[in-house]
């Protein structure tokens, strides 16, 4: 099956500098990709390039088999975008924002009316349907903007910072909505965010951008394997580990790191087969083992490790330069 979204050497500059530099990406149909990176990483520019809003300086993209720079209208007909600012006209009512978008998309009026009612109901906005958007909360606006992005039942959904500016309750609501879109409807989603929690919960794969350059792409565990050798295991010993016990653990050829914790220690092992051997060693030494939990690196661990690597690379380059 061809990829829903792919880019090759996609590059775009502005007078202020390069926003996206040689981007190579591939998003399979039905997959959720988290595009991660700090502000100014090039996430929004990537979404604009993929929707034919901006034209690339170099390279090309394909979305649903179409080149956005050539068939921009057709791409935009089949994609939905939730922009960082909800982008709703405050002078219009919630309902008008949706129905007029339907007209702009050239959809059948009667169908748009029914679909609008369904979406307003589904997104908990039915009671505010006939009120101007001005006066609604940020969370309600995000929900409404998401409903608008889904109005034409798009095959690919681009969500640019969907939870920015939301309080924790509204964030959870929106993340749950996006989660249901991904799992229940099998939609391809490109999620741009710098909130790692929502990315970790929703995404199948992640791409880390920094100043327009792609620094990592894949499943978090795949990227972790390139960053660290081995697996962290938390050993619950009911209290701080004795120095002699820590030394014994360190002496095992399958252990690379032993770090103290309040209830025991975290050991980095070659692979999971080392764990039973360590438990046996502890029991033989008369140490009570209350638990041994393998802790694969979280998306957050992976992201910050990449950020640290980028920072390291930059300072190395600065040193070479000086």
């Amino acid at each position: 099956m061809p990829a829903a979204v792919e880019t090759h050497d996609l590059t775009r500059s502005f007078p202020s500098g390069v926003a996206v530099d040689g981007l190579e990406l591939e998003v399979q149909a039905g997959e959720v990709l988290a595009l991660l990176g700090p502000n100014g990483a090039g996430k929004t520019t990537t979404v604009r390039l993929l929707n034919g809003i901006l034209r690339p300086d170099r390279g090309h993209a394909r979305v649903l088999g179409l080149d956005p720079a050539v068939d921009g209208d057709e791409v935009r007909r089949r994609t939905g975008v939730l922009t960082e600012h909800a982008g709703l006209d405050e002078r219009l009512t919630a309902r008008e924002n949706l129905t007029l978008t339907g007209r702009l998309r050239g959809l059948d009026r009667a169908w748009v009316e029914r679909r609008t009612d369904d979406l307003l109901d589904q997104f908990g906005m039915a009671d505010r349907a006939h009120l101007p958007v001005q006066g609604t909360s940020t969370g309600q606006r995000k929900r409404l903007a998401l409903a608008r992005a889904l109005l034409h039942d798009p095959e690919v959904l681009f969500l640019d910072e969907p939870t920015s500016g939301l309080d924790p309750a509204a964030t959870r609501e929106v993340v749950e909505l996006i989660g249901s879109l991904a799992t229940e409807h099998g939609r391809t989603i490109v999620l741009c965010t710098h909130f790692l929690g929502e990315a970790g919960r929703l995404a199948d794969r992640m791409a880390v951008l920094h100043r327009g350059v792609l620094h990592a792409f894949g499943r978090p565990e795949e990227i972790a394997a390139t960053l660290w050798d081995g697996l962290d295991v938390q050993l619950d010993l009911g209290g701080p580990v004795e120095p002699t016990t820590a030394a014994a653990l360190r002496a095992d050829p399958g252990v690379s790191v032993v770090a103290d914790t309040a209830t025991g220690c975290t050991v980095r092992v070659e692979d999971r087969t080392v764990v039973p051997r360590l438990v046996r060693l502890l029991v033989d030494r008369g140490v009570a083992v209350y638990g041994a939990t393998a802790r694969p690196p979280s998306l957050e661990d992976v992201y910050f490790a990449i950020e640290a690597r980028i920072a390291g690379d930059r300072s190395e380059m600065a040193e070479v330069g000086s």
Partner: protein, 267 residues
């Protein structure tokens, strides 16, 4: 270019504009003042004068313009001079002003309200977007001007009826000016304002930048329109055609250069 999409963009914009007091009030207040209140007040004042003295004013006007007025009974001279001649240039100000207000809002207003990006993400081509925004400013401007002109005719003739006992406006030159030259002048201003709006970040900035272009245009239009009343019909038609030609060339050039890429870089 799909007409249905252009109409949809216009319908959305006009509905939104109709709810914006900051846009609607100045857009309607100035035409109301120029086309209803002024002719009514002047007509009323002139009607009350038993023997108005306008010969000094007429003496300073070109002979061709003054002669037909001097040939009228004295009671009619002031009304015809003011409502039939001196207010004429205002009909070029109204379409220019209304279209400039709406055109400034076209893209710069969208940027200000942070709605431009979601508009750019719709399957509306660059050309459709450009012409929709142009027409969103042009058609209401012409509607306000023409309705205002109809009101002006009713008010002017109504207030002057006890003196004139006949309909004295519009003349054929008035009709050429309002139906042929005023739309051309509005299109000329719009061609400039839509481009300015696309480049500006706020509608205020667009108004300021646009003002630098529109104001000289207004002065030029006002100055020349008085002269047009001396012209023959073919000359007035030719002048209108020339303005239309320049306006259409500017619109064509603007449409060619207009891209969402350029707009998006300024969002």
């Amino acid at each position: 270019m799909r007409g249905s999409v252009v109409r949809a963009v216009m319908a959305k914009d006009l509905l939104a504009v109709s709810r914006s007091k900051a846009v609607v009030i100045p857009m309607l207040a100035v035409p109301l003042l120029l086309m209803v209140v002024m002719p009514f007040g002047i007509g009323l004042a002139a009607r009350g004068q038993e023997n108005p003295e306008v010969s000094r004013i007429l003496a300073s006007m070109p002979g061709d313009l003054a002669r037909p007025i001097l040939e009228l009974p004295r009671r009619e001279q002031l009304i015809v001079l003011v409502n039939g001649y001196l207010l004429a240039p205002l009909f070029l100000i109204v379409p220019l002003m209304v279209s400039a207000v709406l055109a400034a809002d076209a893209f710069a207003g969208e940027k200000e309200r942070k709605t431009l990006e979601s508009l750019l993400h719709l399957p509306v081509s660059d050309r459709e977007l450009f012409f929709a925004k142009l027409l969103t400013a042009f058609l209401p401007a012409m509607a306000v001007s023409w309705i205002g002109f109809a009101c002006f005719c009713v008010v002017s003739n109504g207030v002057a009826w006890p003196v004139m006992h006949r309909i004295f406006v519009p003349t054929s030159l008035w009709l050429v000016m309002i139906l042929w030259i005023a739309p051309a002048v509005a299109a000329l201003g719009l061609a400039v304002m839509v481009r300015v709006s696309a480049r500006a970040r706020t509608s205020q900035e667009a108004n300021q930048l646009g003002g630098a272009v529109i104001l000289p245009l207004i002065f030029l239009a006002v100055g020349q329109s008085s002269g047009l009343l001396l012209a023959t019909l073919p000359v007035a038609m030719a002048a209108g055609a020339l303005i239309w030609l320049v306006a259409l060339l500017l619109v064509r050039g603007g449409a060619k250069r207009f891209t969402r890429d350029e707009l998006a870089t300024k969002v």
